[in-house]
């Protein structure tokens, strides 16, 4: 799972308290760096689609990068490189994603999150 994908994920347990199902907290993470081609234009167009606060705090907690507090309005080439590295090249290989609302744990194994729930959680 790349960090850009984590940016979209939320807990979907039926009884999860509204407003607390996002973002999922990543614990016990093993990270790896992917080889993804950098395309400045692509990253520039991606930025407004991201939840910057969540990307920033996740990158910080995982020790990947210290992103600026505010999403850069006029990103420099360096900003774009940094965002590319954080969102598209950082992959969580093994981890647990924990919901702060209901405590549900979603495992990530071999880079793949398993988001299936038990029947009684749906």
């Amino acid at each position: 799972m790349r960090l850009i994908t984590h940016n979209m994920l939320q807990c979907h347990v039926k009884a999860c308290p509204p407003g607390q199902s996002y973002p999922l907290q990543i614990r016990n993470a093993e990270l790896e760096a992917l080889d993804a081609e950098f395309n400045a234009d692509f990253v520039r167009r991606l930025i407004p689609k991201l939840d910057w606060k969540v990307l920033r705090s996740t990158a910080f907690e995982l020790g990947v990068a210290q992103l600026p507090e505010e999403c850069p309005a006029e990103p420099t080439e360096d900003d774009l490189q940094m965002i590319h590295k954080v969102a598209l090249q950082t992959r969580v290989k093994e981890a647990e994603m924990v919901c702060s609302g209901c405590g549900h744990v979603y495992p990530i194994k071999d880079g793949v999150p398993n988001m299936l729930l038990q029947d009684h959680e749906i």
């Binding site: 850009i4 979209m8 979907h12 234009d41 520039r44 793949v112 988001m115």
Partner: protein, 232 residues
């Protein structure tokens, strides 16, 4: 078929079957359908989307200028997607683990026809619409009850089992996994997949039930009905 509860029916005749046939299924899936290809190729650069029920991920690399998260209920198919280097996760279309309005586009190719009641089909479609951004686009394909004249298949009912035959010589003997219905036919192991075949207008009608969706195009292509919709 009617004797099984809906979740159980899908478990035995959809989810377990795809897990067992994954390598064989994947070996048969490589040619993209032109309408799906066009939809993906026409997306704006930098779009973010989800392919829900992505199978072996055959559409995930079509447009390199967009970012697509592939997902499927079958972990064995998702293993194949991951090995191909695509972004992937295991999840169920009936409850998607994505926040509201976060994707520019969604594709659902040959998936909704595996849901075994009108309520479940509608629920799956509504989930696709929920995670789409206002202004975003959705493409859904489902198998048609009305088969083209040159097609070998004819159906007399809308809810059917369609056999999947796997050559034993290549893929080995029948799976002994619990909750699977198997039969043998000469050199093949036969698994029955559940399908709901859509009649003309049925898919479109379901999409129109959502107050958030606007149907932009619909049609018939190669034994399938499709709808392209946008979110209001």
């Amino acid at each position: 078929m009617d004797s099984l509860p809906k979740e159980k029916l899908e478990h035995v005749h959809v989810h377990n079957v795809y897990n067992i046939i994954a390598p064989h299924f994947s070996a048969t899936r490589y040619k993209p359908w032109p309408i799906v290809d066009n939809f993906l190729s026409g997306l704006d650069k930098g779009s973010i989307g989800a392919d829900v029920g992505c199978g072996n991920g055959k559409y995930l690399g079509v447009n390199p200028d967009v970012f697509t998260v592939g997902s499927d209920r079958s972990d064995k198919l998702i293993d194949i997607v991951r090995e191909r280097g695509f972004e992937a996760m295991v999840c169920d279309n009936l409850r998607l683990p994505y926040r509201d309005s976060c994707f520019d586009f969604i594709t659902s190719i040959a998936v909704i026809h595996h849901m075994s009641s009108p309520e479940r089909r509608l629920m799956a479609i509504n989930e696709l619409i929920r995670v789409l951004k206002p202004g975003g686009h959705l493409l859904i394909f489902v198998w048609a009850f009305e088969q083209e004249s040159r097609s070998k298949r004819r159906f007399s009912e809308q809810d059917v089992f369609v056999p999947w035959k796997m050559p034993k010589a290549i893929y080995g003997p029948a799976s002994s996994q619990p909750n699977t219905a198997v039969a043998e036919d000469g050199g093949d192991v036969v698994y029955q997949r559940y399908y709901h075949l859509f009649r003309e207008g049925e898919l479109e009608e379901m999409v129109r039930q959502s107050p958030d969706a606007m149907v932009e195009a619909c049609g018939y292509d190669r034994d399938n009905w499709y709808v392209i919709a946008s979110k209001k």
